[in-house]
Amino acid sequence: MLKQSHIHGHAAALRIANFDTDQVMPKQFLRGIDKSGLKDGLFYDLRFDESGKPKPEFFLNQVAYASTDILIAGSNYGCGSSREHAVWGMQQYGFKAVIASSFAEIFYSNAMGNGLLLVTLPEDQVQALMQEADDLGAPVAIEIDIEQCHIKSPKHEFTFPMSARHHQMFLEGLDVIGLTLTMKNQIDAFAQQHWSKQPWVKDIARKTVDRLEK
């Protein structure tokens, strides 16, 4: 993950609650074995009509909103499927951050792990930013100081929560797997002890499949 301490961007509102990952990245874009091509699938049904032509009424298709790289979204953004393709697609499209009053859990982990910043604010503050963007008729300039957990628009300033771990991940760009592997001896020791207490879970996948094949 790349280091990030500041995000300067332009935010626009998507006033839809419970915006699920099926809508962020529909099924027909999940058939790859790599991460490529997901930019095309982002918000597909909102961006394109059934014949594949851009829908002029959707803000991301409008010239005035071409600079949008921060989304101000409805609550429970990213609910539903665990597909990380939703996060990869948002990043490939150019999104750097999403602001909402709540995020679905798996989406939250996926996004923060990939460096797509999720800013959780109380509902009234989210509404204030949405209103500011709507009044402007164009994306509103936003500055996010990740180090200070501080977000600023021309009219508003708020602070947002961030766990110590995610803070460190953004500021230092951690290789999470690499870090965990430094604890491999501890993991091995734990596993041996765990399996001595619960031998019926050791090698459970292999043993079950071997039994079924007999």
Partner: protein, 474 residues
């Protein structure tokens, strides 16, 4: 004095390799399930860094999401990209010595149906999968939850996860479900009341007399859909029902090991006086068949109730959600759902694709046939479910009644294979998500129980299954 713990805390403690900070632990994972579409980039990530799979025998893969369900042998994946996902999964599993239920394996199916039915899910385990419905396993006292592909890679490399601990919620359901209502109706009702975000941040323990009375399969349905309320996990303390289910499927647990296991599983319950951060109380006696009317699983009502009127909703964001949903589902606020014509029925999925669900369908339809103009598909959750249904005569009855009897897979729950609805089709579905476009762009999904979907199939409209006189399990 020992501090009082919830079942959730006990499961986390028993799998904590190390405490990383105030919020996170390094959590050991007993079983990691994979499918063909959320794992490829994880395996590629391992290769890029020349990393291996730490404990292959605690991992298993199933071809489930992209597989076509046409009734042909051998099964053939016609779409080249999907075929590549399946062959790539096999290549990765072979390379890393990970067991696989492949496309033409007789036991292939949906990962969440296949793994418990063969005894791979046992009380006290931590089970994860790159699929949000991994919460299903909570029904056996297992901490199960979905993860993204980056975390799939982390588990493959380390058999652990960096795990942010959740808060504790308890949902107690007293009373007993009335005849003609099922655990699907119960969970749809609960989600409609606590909302699609009501359990964000929580692991939910379900308890109470209504839950205790349920079969293990019916409990799977509840825990499966807890994620639709935002829950990070769902739990039901293992009791004699759960233990019976497991021992019938785990011939390796015998003798002294069985005694040890039973002794350990008996400790897997919330201590009296343990603290929950949030509690809800429901009464099962009030339950009726539930059906969704909108585009979020929490937009659901009892079959005899009315869709909320716009005027009754004070919160402007909620009113907007209602308007957006009804525009998509082509319904009117204040109306009832009973009598709404449907063109398609889908019976299957990790929510309701098990043998008891199919028995419910048969009990509901009696001697009736699928209504004219309706296409009704039944997709068993696994090869084992399919074989069982065929041996019980269920398949023959369904076929005689005009249902399509298909091969197992995720199918039209998410329409990643070729089982896709065309725009405007209204579908009575036993699945878990009624999102816009989920079953096909412009298609309208009404979530309901297998009995209710069966009633819709034979009447051609959304119907109160209780009026058909059949009898469904709880």
């Amino acid at each position: 004095m020992m501090s009082k713990k919830t079942l959730y805390q006990k499961l986390v403690d028993a799998h904590t390799v190390a405490v990383l900070d105030e919020e996170n632990v390094l959590l050991f994972c007993d079983l990691h399930l994979m499918n063909e579409y959320t794992s490829p980039q994880a395996f590629s990530g391992l290769e890029e860094k020349s990393r291996g799979v730490l404990v292959p025998g605690q991992n298993v893969s199933v071809v489930s999401h992209i597989i076509p369900t046409h009734n042909e042998t051998p099964r053939r994946i016609a779409d080249p990209a999907s075929l590549l996902q399946a062959t790539n999964l096999k290549k990765n599993c072979t390379k890393h010595n990970i067991p696989l239920f492949d496309t033409n394996d007789a036991l292939q199916g949906i990962e969440h149906v296949v793994s418990p039915e063969h005894g791979m899910i046992r009380p006290g385990m931590v089970v994860i999968c790159g699929d949000s419905h991994t919460t299903t396993y909570g029904a056996l006292g297992v901490l199960g939850f979905g993860i993204g592909t980056s975390e799939v890679e982390h588990v493959l490399a380390t058999q652990t996860l960096v795990y942010r601990m959740a808060k504790n919620m308890r949902i107690t359901i007293n009373g007993i479900l009335p005849r003609g209502t099922t655990s699907k109706d119960l969970i749809l009702n609960i989600i409609s009341q606590i909302s699609a975000k009501g359990a964000i941040g929580y692991v939910v323990e379900f308890c109470g007399s209504a839950v205790t009375a349920l079969s293990t399969e019916a409990r799977f349905t509840i825990c499966n859909m807890a994620v639709e309320a935002g829950a990070r996990g769902a739990l039901i303390a293992p009791d004699s029902t759960a233990v019976e289910y497991i021992l019938a499927r785990a011939p390796d647990i015998t003798g002294d090991m069985q005694e040890d296991a039973l002794q350990y599983w008996a400790t897997l319950h919330t201590d009296i006086d343990a603290q929950f951060d949030q509690e809800y109380l429901f009464d099962a006696n009030d339950m009726a068949p539930f059906v969704t009317w909108g585009t979020s699983p929490d937009q659901a009502i009892a079959i005899n109730a009315h869709i909320p009127s716009k005027a009754s909703i004070q919160n402007s964001a909620d009113r907007l959600s209602l308007e957006q949903a009804l525009r998509y589902t082509k319904l009117i606020d204040g109306q009832t759902l009973e009598g709404t014509p449907i063109q398609h029925v889908f019976i299957g999925s990790c929510t309701n694709g098990r043998i008891e669900d199919l028995r419910d369908v048969i009990a509901t339809i009696g001697d009736r046939r699928v209504a004219s103009g309706v296409r009704a598909m039944v997709v068993p959750g696994s090869g084992a479910v399919k074989a069982q249904a065929e041996s019980e005569g269920i398949a023959d009855k369904l076929i005689a009644a005009g249902f399509e009897w298909r091969k197992p897979g995720c199918s039209m729950c998410l329409a990643m294979n070729d089982d896709v609805l065309v725009s405007g089709t209204r579908c009575a579905s036993t699945t878990n998500r009624n999102f816009e476009g989920r079953q096909g762009r412009g298609a309208i999904t009404h979530l309901m129980s297998p009995a209710m979907a069966a009633a819709a199939a034979v009447t051609g409209m959304i119907t109160d299954a209780r009026k058909l006189g059949g009898e469904s399990h709880a």
